[in-house]
């Protein structure tokens, strides 16, 4: 769970750096932590699917981070990886805007 959580945070941080580049790293970190919390609330069948997609996504991005990580996930042809990116990004955006963005 812990390593999965870390990967979701990495993806969330990379998405927020692209979506709200003017934001502080601290606010992005807080939002990324919220993402991890939200992922645990998914219905269990969805959570299982997201877990698998997360493993695939990790394989796609390797050690890359930031914009490169996002671009790789965005372009990945593997099923589920695009949905994983979309889910983490939307959770991160909502968390960031609720916390810091209004």
């Amino acid at each position: 769970m812990r390593s999965g959580a870390t990967f979701a945070e990495r993806v969330a941080l990379a998405c927020l750096a692209r979506d709200v580049p003017e934001s502080s790293l601290e606010s992005r970190r807080r939002a990324a932590e919220e993402v991890v919390q939200s992922l645990t609330a998914l219905p269990d069948s969805t959570r299982a699917g997201v877990g698998v997609a997360g493993v695939l996504a990790r394989g796609v991005v390797g050690r890359s981070s930031g914009d490169r990580l996002v671009s790789r996930l965005d372009a990945a042809p593997l099923p589920g990886v695009g949905e994983y990116l979309k889910l983490v990004r939307s959770l991160a955006l909502v968390a960031w805007f609720e916390d810091a963005g209004s």
Binding site: R18, D19, V20, P21, E22, E34, S38, A41, L42, P43, D44, S45, T46, K86, R89, S90, L93, V94, A95, W96, F97, E98, G101, S102
Partner: protein, 463 residues
């Protein structure tokens, strides 16, 4: 918790009507509710905090399919009434006649249901707005007027409050009445299954313990009710899930329109019941979410632009249907939905009509919420922008869930015309599952009137 005359599973609108009427009739009533009790107004409307405390799975539920449809269910004392927009419609005579005919439902014409609609309207203080329309609603009204389209500011179960109107939720009305009449409410308690033996239900199982009851009424909502029956061994296919698939557009105006704590209550009904155009919750986070569906354009939006932006929707009556399946070993059911080709075509035409409406209303820029959508600034952009919403690009959602346990006398139906489960003598369903189809209007008023009608029958002993 010990032994009761009636156990009601779920405290949403269906469950609260049932509990109130049974308690007022002098029965010992227990309402078992999985969610927590949150006082109305204690958390900001449409916020992340509300999602966390009052929605099932924090609102992150989705019906799988092509495209998937995101849907939300409340999970709190009062159910959906605590989080919803409070928009009230009476069902039309045509709708009720069609349901009666197609599902062989007894006594479901408008004259049958009308007295109960009146009871609901009185208790919930359903009323129209006094005074001017707020900007987000006024925009819809202006657009409709310019195009000569019919529309209305929809009445609500809300009374004027110090700031925003105070919605007359179940915890403020029916559930409060039930408790006053002696019903007990157990929040934070999930019914894992019903204890069914030899065609009778003996009670409900909560955390491994059985609470016994003479009768059980399941009112857990259109997804959870069939799932609970399935977990309890009652033969239920879970097919028939009917929703209003909805597509969204972010509209930008020259002036401020956004009230993050409320939404546009005006609806355009020119193409009803097939299509309804209206306004959605538009907190900055929800605008960002709608924009994120389009691609990586959120970064380009000026941070204060949300004040001039508002999310609007086109919602359709769908021919497609979904299914709820409880899977052994999983706590949550798996939900699927098949959108038909006609549904997709109707959604596209709904999106186009919505964009024409918003341009007529004076919007300077429209940002349809689907993958890769172009920005629309003139009427000439509308057709290509709507046509480009394919199955794989669409981002759909729904908050109206119905149809999984339709009432009626049709062969093979799980419940009869009054919500009684055919194979289990003392078991009833009384919630949105019973509506045979998504009605093309906001459904809570209709389901509450039907719930009244059913519990009246149950109490008269004819059920």
């Amino acid at each position: 918790m010990s032994s009761y005359d009636v156990v009601v599973v779920g405290s949403g609108p269906g469950g609260s009507v049932t509990a109130r009427e049974c308690a007022r009739a002098g029965l010992r009533v227990l309402v078992v509710e999985e969610g927590e009790r949150v006082e109305p107004g204690a958390v900001p409307a449409y916020s992340l905090e509300q999602m966390r405390r009052q929605y099932r799975n924090q609102g992150l539920t989705v019906a799988l399919g092509r495209p998937p449809i995101a849907y939300t269910e409340a999970a709190c004392a009062g159910g959906g009434s605590e989080v919803n927009s409070g928009l009230y419609h009476r069902p039309s005579a045509e709708l009720l006649d069609a349901w009666s005919r197609e599902h062989a439902v007894e006594a479901l014409t408008l004259p049958d249901v009308e007295p109960w609609l009146g009871t609901v309207e009185d208790r919930l203080q359903v009323q129209g707005r006094a005074g001017e329309l707020p900007p987000a609603s006024a925009a819809l009204a202006r657009g409709a007027e310019r195009l000569g389209w019919a529309g209305l500011d929809v009445p609500r179960w809300a009374v004027p409050g110090p700031g925003h109107p105070e919605k007359q939720t179940m915890t403020r009305t029916y559930l409060a009445d039930a408790l006053e009449a002696g019903a007990e409410l157990a929040c934070g308690s999930r019914v894992d299954r019903l204890d069914v033996h030899d065609g009778r239900v003996r009670g409900v199982v909560v955390a491994g313990r059985t609470v016994t009851s003479e009768r059980v009424v399941v009112a857990a909502g259109a997804v959870q009710s069939p799932a609970l029956l399935q977990r309890s061994g009652v033969p239920v296919s879970g097919r028939g899930l009917a929703v209003h698939p909805t597509v969204k557009v972010v509209a930008e105006f020259a002036e401020d329109v956004n009230d993050p704590a409320d939404l546009a209550t005006y609806q355009v009904k020119e193409f009803a019941p097939a299509l309804t155009l209206g306004g959605s919750a538009s907190r900055p986070s929800l605008i960002a979410l709608a924009l994120s569906e389009r691609g990586w354009s959120v970064a380009g939006e000026p941070r204060e632009a949300w004040r001039r932006q508002q999310v609007y929707y086109a919602a359709i009556r769908s021919r497609g249907r979904g299914r709820v399946r409880s899977v052994p070993g999983f706590r949550d059911p798996v939900v699927t939905y098949r959108l038909t080709r006609e549904d997709l075509a109707l959604l596209r035409s709904g999106l186009a009509r919505l964009m024409h409406l918003l341009l007529a209303a004076g919007a300077t820029r429209l940002l349809p919420s689907y993958a890769g959508a172009m920005t629309v600034t003139t009427n000439a952009d509308v057709a290509p922008a709507a046509a480009a919403m394919t199955r794989s690009r669409a981002a759909l959602m729904s908050v109206h869930l119905t149809g999984t346990l339709p009432l009626g006398e049709r062969r093979g139906g799980v419940v009869d015309s009054w919500g009684r489960v055919r194979d289990v003598t003392n078991l009833w369903v009384n919630d949105a599952s019973l509506l045979p189809d998504a009605p093309g209007i906001n459904p809570q008023g209709t389901l509450m009137a039907i719930a009244h009608r059913n519990v009246d029958r149950l109490l008269r002993g004819d059920g």
